[in-house]
């Protein structure tokens, strides 16, 4: 059930996509007709150009809004890093977090001195761009 809900929430409905496609197709047709009618009837051509551009604009707007709604649903979770250190020689190894890791856990032997290494830190790094910059 949750899977179904999540899937339907994270993709644009096919009905909306169909409507967007039809509007886009009609708008393009209006623009082509406007181009053909330009020399014979400039007034009709003007109205068709207006109609075509409005149609393209509306369908693009709806598509972008639908994409925006889906993007809003996703929560970006930064990758978590595990730092492993050798207390004897100071050798440091940084790798992606693995289930079962915890701070002060003794892990594989050191590559340099064969002493057991220990997890000293588990953290996530927030990118500089994500941080807020205000004047105060």
């Amino acid at each position: 059930m949750a899977q179904g809900t999540a899937n339907s929430a994270t993709r644009i409905s096919s009905f909306v996509l169909l409507i967007i496609f039809i509007t886009l197709a009609l708008s393009m047709t209006a623009l082509i007709l406007a181009f053909n009618a330009f020399s014979s009837d400039p007034v009709i051509s003007g109205w068709l150009i207006l109609l075509g551009f409005v149609g393209v604009g509306i369908s693009m707007y709806v598509l972008l809004q639908a994409r925006r709604r889906i993007r809003r649903l996703n929560i970006a979770i930064a990758p978590v890093t595990t730092t492993i250190e050798c207390k004897k020689c100071g050798f440091k190894n940084v790798r992606e977090f693995q289930r079962g890791d915890y701070i002060f856990k003794e892990v594989e032997p050191c590559q340099k001195c064969k002493e057991n290494m220990m997890i000293t830190a588990i953290y996530r790094e927030v990118k500089e761009g994500d941080k807020d910059h205000y004047r105060f």
Binding site: M1, A2, Q3, T5, A6, A9, T10, R69, R72, L73, I75, I77, A78, V80, F97, R99, G100, D101, Y102, I103, F104, K105, A121, I122, Y123, R124, E125, V126, Y134, F136
Partner: protein, 381 residues
């Protein structure tokens, strides 16, 4: 005196179209009047529909987060607990659990009543998790319990917002919708924080709230630890010529323990001869403050329902023990999501500040209690 000429001018003006002769200007004028009249009579209703739409958008997101939370909880339970039967129905029932806080019309003794209720709740939740995940060890059981609690929180937030949305829609009351719409940004931040907490709990990653526990863990690491009531550990560590009893919740499972009972036990064991109690905890930062900033103060630095704070204050009052507090600043999102690098980097600075407090506030040969408060998930000792 009205002349015949002025009457004629007036007749001319009345005969003219009041909206102008140009058809475009006529349409624009009419449009302006229509919009003006519509906004005059239906302005508030339009505002209400705009707000409802905004709440609806957030409600969609909350439903998505809640469903993802439920899915994560079920998957983690199946993966770690290896249950014989499908735990989905039981988890769904678990998500609807509630706790009724004790009656406080007569406040005397309410702390003990509250403590009892919390204890019963904890035992009940743990038993449920053990039934759903028979293969999980103690650490994994604690992590699963925390995972389910985060899913419960998301479920509750979704239901409350949905309640106000539907109530507002039914009553068309601007005030019901307005209050929820105004609070939405803060509620959404909290929901997003719980969503990332859920991932952290299911993987057993340390969270920002564990900053205090990590400070205590770094101080006590390498020394022999002893179990204390309830779910806490203590290590006796020599610091600057003093004897420090370093307390933290037992890790690496998701657990906050009962630091109130642990501190009380250590104080009693030493017959009240403690020169100072130093508490370290994560604290909510104000906007504009830096994550990982350390602040120093006085008092019992501990959150939660207040039972532990009450017990600590009672114990120190009995023996007139000074209490110092050290907090590591972070916001609600950082507190329940995987620990940020800034917080990890501030741990050594916090230890230095603890040593400084010990040097300044106690004499050589004194005994001090250092309590690192917070969830010990992903933090050993």
């Amino acid at each position: 005196m009205i002349t015949s000429a002025s009457v004629a001018t007036l007749q001319n003006q009345l005969a003219q179209n009041p909206l102008g002769d140009n058809p475009m200007s006529w349409i624009l004028n009419l449009l302006f009047y229509v919009v003006f009249i519509v906004f005059l009579f239906y302005g508030q209703r339009i505002q209400l529909y705009v707000m409802l739409r905004e709440v609806e958008g957030s409600l969609h997101k909350l439903r998505f987060i809640k469903d993802e939370g439920r899915k994560t909880a079920i998957e983690t339970m199946k993966e770690i607990g290896k249950p014989q039967i499908d735990p989905t129905a039981r988890i769904d029932r678990f998500l609807e659990y509630f706790t009724i806080s004790p009656q406080n019309l007569d406040p005397a003794g309410v702390v003990w009543k509250l403590e009892h209720i919390i204890d019963v709740r904890d035992v009940r939740l743990k038993d449920e998790v053990k039934m759903m995940a028979p293969s999980a060890d103690e650490t994994q059981t604690n992590n699963l319990e925390n995972t389910l609690e985060a899913a419960m929180a998301l479920n509750y937030i979704y239901k409350v917002i949905r309640h106000f949305y539907l109530l507002g829609k039914k009553t068309l009351s601007l005030y019901i919708i307005m209050q929820i719409q105004m609070l939405l940004p803060l509620i959404m931040r909290e929901a997003e924080a719980y969503a990332s907490a859920l991932k952290a709990f299911s993987f057993g990653q340390p969270i920002g709230d564990g900053a205090g526990a990590l400070v205590a863990g770094r101080i006590m690491h390498g020394y022999k630890t002893k179990k204390l009531p309830k779910d806490c550990v203590v290590a006796t560590v020599p610091i600057e010529g003093r004897t420090a009893y370093v307390i933290k919740a037992e890790g690496p499972g998701g657990n906050v323990g009962k630091p109130g009972d642990a501190i009380e036990a250590v104080i009693k064991e030493n017959k009240g001869k403690i020169a100072s109690v130093i508490m370290i905890d994560a604290a909510g930062k104000l906007e504009g403050e830096i994550v990982g900033e350390i602040a120093e103060g006085i008092g019992a630095a501990i959150g939660g329902p207040g039972v532990d704070q009450f017990k600590i204050e009672e114990s120190i009052l009995k023996y007139h023990i000074p209490i110092n507090a050290l907090v590591i600043k972070e916001d609600i999102g950082d507190a329940v999501s995987p620990m940020r690098k800034e917080i990890i980097d501030s741990i050594d600075k916090a230890i230095e500040r603890v040593k400084q407090v010990i040097l300044e506030r106690t004499k050589e040969g004194d005994k001090v209690v250092i309590a690192g408060i917070g969830n010990s998930i992903g933090i050993g000792q």
